[in-house]
Symmetry: C2
Subunit: 452 residues, 2 copies
Amino acid sequence: MNLDNALLASSEDKLLYLQKLLVLEDDLLVKEFFAELSEVEVAHLLASFPANVRQRVWLCVPDDFKGEVLAKLSEETRSSLMVDMKESDVSELTQDLGAQEIADILDTTAESMKEAVIEGLDQNTRDQIQTLHAYDDQAVGRYMNPEMVNIRQNVTLETVQRYIRIKDLLDEASQEIMVTNQDNRLVGSLRLVDLIKQNQEALVSEFMHSPISILDEINIHEAAVILRSKGLHFAPVVNASGILVGQLNIEDIIGITREDSEQTQMTMSGVSEDELFSPVMKSAQSRGIWLGINLATAFLAAYVIGQFEAVISQLVALAVLMPVVASMGGIAGSQTLSIIMRGLALGQIAGKNRLWLFNKELWVGASNGVIWAIVVGIVSQVWFNDWMLTLVISLAIAINMTVANVSGIAIPLLLKKMKIDPALSGAVILTTVTDVVGFMSFLGLATLLILD
Amino acid sequence: MNLDNALLASSEDKLLYLQKLLVLEDDLLVKEFFAELSEVEVAHLLASFPANVRQRVWLCVPDDFKGEVLAKLSEETRSSLMVDMKESDVSELTQDLGAQEIADILDTTAESMKEAVIEGLDQNTRDQIQTLHAYDDQAVGRYMNPEMVNIRQNVTLETVQRYIRIKDLLDEASQEIMVTNQDNRLVGSLRLVDLIKQNQEALVSEFMHSPISILDEINIHEAAVILRSKGLHFAPVVNASGILVGQLNIEDIIGITREDSEQTQMTMSGVSEDELFSPVMKSAQSRGIWLGINLATAFLAAYVIGQFEAVISQLVALAVLMPVVASMGGIAGSQTLSIIMRGLALGQIAGKNRLWLFNKELWVGASNGVIWAIVVGIVSQVWFNDWMLTLVISLAIAINMTVANVSGIAIPLLLKKMKIDPALSGAVILTTVTDVVGFMSFLGLATLLILD
């Protein structure tokens, strides 16, 4: 058993290797393995076990890693590990961490422990944590790094370099140095690249640039969208009076971006992000709401079918073909929905182009509707040899697919106008529409054209 | 009409503002507006128009922007703009671009134009482009930046700084400087932060670190997964003999990451990423395959129902409740599928934990199945007042939801074992299973218990 190159192995290989080590019950080997990995990787491995095994794995994490690893875990995984921790444990773990990381960890703990741990910190970190905790959960200020290096604009680059060396400033993640005036107001930002490559006798003011600053009170997801749309990987954070209060680094922005795109995907099927290894009862419960909502819409569709019992009992083939109509509408609508949701997320749908898109979807729906109506018609005719039935199902397919495409754009745009997140309810409303319209058009036409 | 702060406006606001400017037909205003934006933003705005309007907007892009903007567009959007371009236009646009960007743009052009444009470039860029084009479409080598700064390990930091200034090396995106030996083999990497903050008399060898290098031939998506799993934002690229050939920057890695997560979402509904503003016929066609596959599965479900015509014609209520069984199974299965797909993407599912997860999903499915069977049973009893029907639907719901959850994990794991991308076909296979099992258990039980 061997992992030839721990550095380049895939997450899956590392997980398999760790599982083998755990079977051997030789904790020393596990510790050695962890020592070769980064904190991100160890955190990721911990999240790949059910809670009871996770506790055991946690004991093998090297002590000088534990704090960083804990900070990188999701809230659910972290709290599963912190259940039995004492105040002194938490204090020890957090002693070498930055304010941002400590604040994250303390968010998972009880109020009493939180206060006790904060008490034990140095004044500077304590102030920073208090600043972070003062912000709203979703505010930029809660996510920013409150530690940063700032300089004045009327000094030379050489002086800045010397200052950094003497004071031992900057860390691995540093990208830019903020330039402020006496009031701590942001006046510019100096890239490390420029600090190195420009004439060292020149003043900071000559090479600093005006960065795009982000207001500390705005929503972190909005901030991520703005930064992403500009291709920016760094932003100073200022408060309403223009005072520099922190910075957002590439790490923070990437984290939020990934979270956002995953969350959309998960939200659309009504499951939570962290559910893979959570206990049965918790999972069953968390999926319940979505199942309940779906049941209500399914009964609505059933109610529609119930209105047409007469025609179904006369021609059972209707019951046989019924799901085809609903299903084709459902797929066509969800294709449009996916495209529109992406466009909305990227801010590409606004003003006049909505009409263009509406029109486009109407025509895509109608042309696909006609094409597939013909295909379904042929199959139906061959199968049941009933021209009336073929006419009814062809018409219903064409109608439902057209309505489905138009709904695929109309529903998310309407929800957005009503300030409801389309990711949350768009799909279920759409399915309800395509089911109801599908059954109603199919069975309704059948009642008109076939029922004696 | 005014956009108070072009810098901080959302993508949507910028799009609205641009639409207004276009109505005024004052191209100068549009040009002024574009000049305030970054290339990423202009590219994004261009992608937010249908092809015919896009051409007009393109004419307003400031000339010194055009090349960069073109490089940042997706292939489809780019080719819509390049249709009428002459060789001289392309040569002019690409003159100030890096090899990576030129290679991207030339990928969109015809072979003859490609050669002519390459002919006009300087020897160095020409070589770099040839290197890039020699790689497979999906290889790391095709995505890397072949321009990089490399230094030797036995010089002082001070010398490195001076060398950078004299030669005017590094650009905005630089993060690390590669350290190589005489054979151009990678021996380490020096962070800009260390170049600044460490003792300037020290040698590079003292502060360089061993970076994780990526092989040029591996798949870019695999590379992105590795880098992400380590939280890395930079990687040197080496060939099979260890020679340094390029570097992957944060930009490249983020781009690939976002693409991947979006693509999964789009693939799952059978639409392509760039479809928002593509013409009706193209969209209708591209969605066709998926609709066709779905139709086949819908007919399979219809065939199953067709086997039970006898019992349906005896009790039409079965046709009414039938979709409820299929729909509950579909939702339960897709919940499991989303969770498993995410776990697979993150490499969290391997070896022994598959059994644990299987077991978990079985129990989540069974317990949710029983709970919802009771709920559906109550509604059915109130609605139809038929104990036998209530028994049949309750059993069918419990069976289908249990099978659905188990299938939600079994299908993607099986597909993966068969080396088929579960994102592509997982959802459609799952729906087929839940439909078929749903109809079969419901109507089959009805045949056994109700049919005279």
